[in-house]
């Protein structure tokens, strides 16, 4: 949840590439070696390795110590940090729109009916919109 902006930027840049996203999808099902990761792609091992380096630098994956296989592991926290950011943006607008909706209803109620004394505060809808 709390990621430095630098880290977030690196994660976003890493996520910008479809091959890297596919690699992350594969890793979400479990750790895998470079060979296993390369299998579904028509890409050379060095090509895959380059992507893995970007992912590793961004903190989205880590790699095991085993000198021969060095299995890749998805760092879920980093990925969630990046995805949280998008979710947060969406939530802000959803909640803002909820309030605007209530405000517009209150405005139109008071302009159609006789204006009532006192303030009309839009009914605060605290119910969270069920997200994804």
């Amino acid at each position: 949840m709390t990621m430095t902006e630098e880290r977030l930027d690196a994660a976003f840049a890493a996520l910008a590439d479809p091959t890297r996203r596919a690699i992350l999808s594969r890793l979400s099902q479990g750790d895998a070696t470079v060979n296993e990761l390369a299998a579904p792609f028509t890409m050379s091992l060095p090509g895959i390795s380059k992507h893995l380096k970007v992912l590793e630098r961004s903190g989205l994956i880590s790699r095991g110590r085993d000198a021969q296989f060095r299995p890749c592991h998805l760092e879920v926290d980093t990925l969630e940090g990046a995805l949280d950011w998008i979710g947060a943006q969406r939530r802000v607008w959803e909640e803002r729109f909820d309030k605007l909706d209530a405000h517009l209803r209150a405005l139109q109620r008071t302009s159609i009916k006789r204006p009532r004394p006192g303030r009309t505060t839009p009914a605060g809808r605290s119910g969270k919109g069920s997200g994804t």
Binding site: E5, L8, D9, F12, A13, L15, A16, D17, P18, R21, S25, S28, Q29, L79, L83, W85, I86, G87, Q89, R90, R91, V92, W93, E94, E95, R96, F97, D98, K99, L100, D101, A102, H103, L104, R105, L107, Q108, T121, P122, S126, K128, T132
Partner: protein, 147 residues
């Protein structure tokens, strides 16, 4: 309408039961903005909202977290102000551009379409591909199904 234009931004849409002029007015009038600009649990005090609704004019808000008093100021500059159909601004610190279109979908019904570009700043300067944000959204949904 093409996929190309549909894919390079974050988009948020909502239909309101109100005439377009009123909805647009709400977005540029501090007396209205203070009622809804802060999301749940966050206030946007009226006296700290600055709106100079013309191209190059200032759009400043401060959101205050009701729980801990934390403040989130945003300084932006309007790029387009075309009542009642379009409003756009760019945030100074992040470079994020926000465009709002107001579409009358039926008499007294208005669809507001928000699009955010340049999110976050580094994306623009990195090798990020156009289309990545919406595909990232799909990716998030996909991962959600796995969790």
């Amino acid at each position: 309408m093409s996929d190309d234009t549909a894919q390079k931004e974050l988009r948020f849409t909502r239909v309101f039961e109100a005439p377009r002029e009123l909805v647009f007015q709400c977005m540029i009038d501090p007396d209205h903005l203070t009622h809804f600009w802060g999301p749940t649990g966050v206030r946007a005090p009226r006296e700290r909202i600055v709106v100079d609704a013309r191209p190059g004019g200032a759009f400043k808000t401060v959101m205050v977290n009701e729980a801990d008093g934390g403040e989130y100021p945003t300084d932006a500059v309007y790029d387009e102000v075309r009542p009642p159909e379009r409003l756009s601004w760019t945030e100074a610190s992040s470079g994020m551009r926000v465009e709002s279109d107001f579409v009358e979908v039926a008499p007294g019904r208005t669809e507001v379409r928000i699009r955010q570009y340049n999110v976050p700043e580094a994306l623009a300067s990195s090798d990020a591909q156009a289309g990545f944000l919406s595909s990232l959204d799909r990716f998030a949904a996909y991962l959600g199904t796995l969790a």
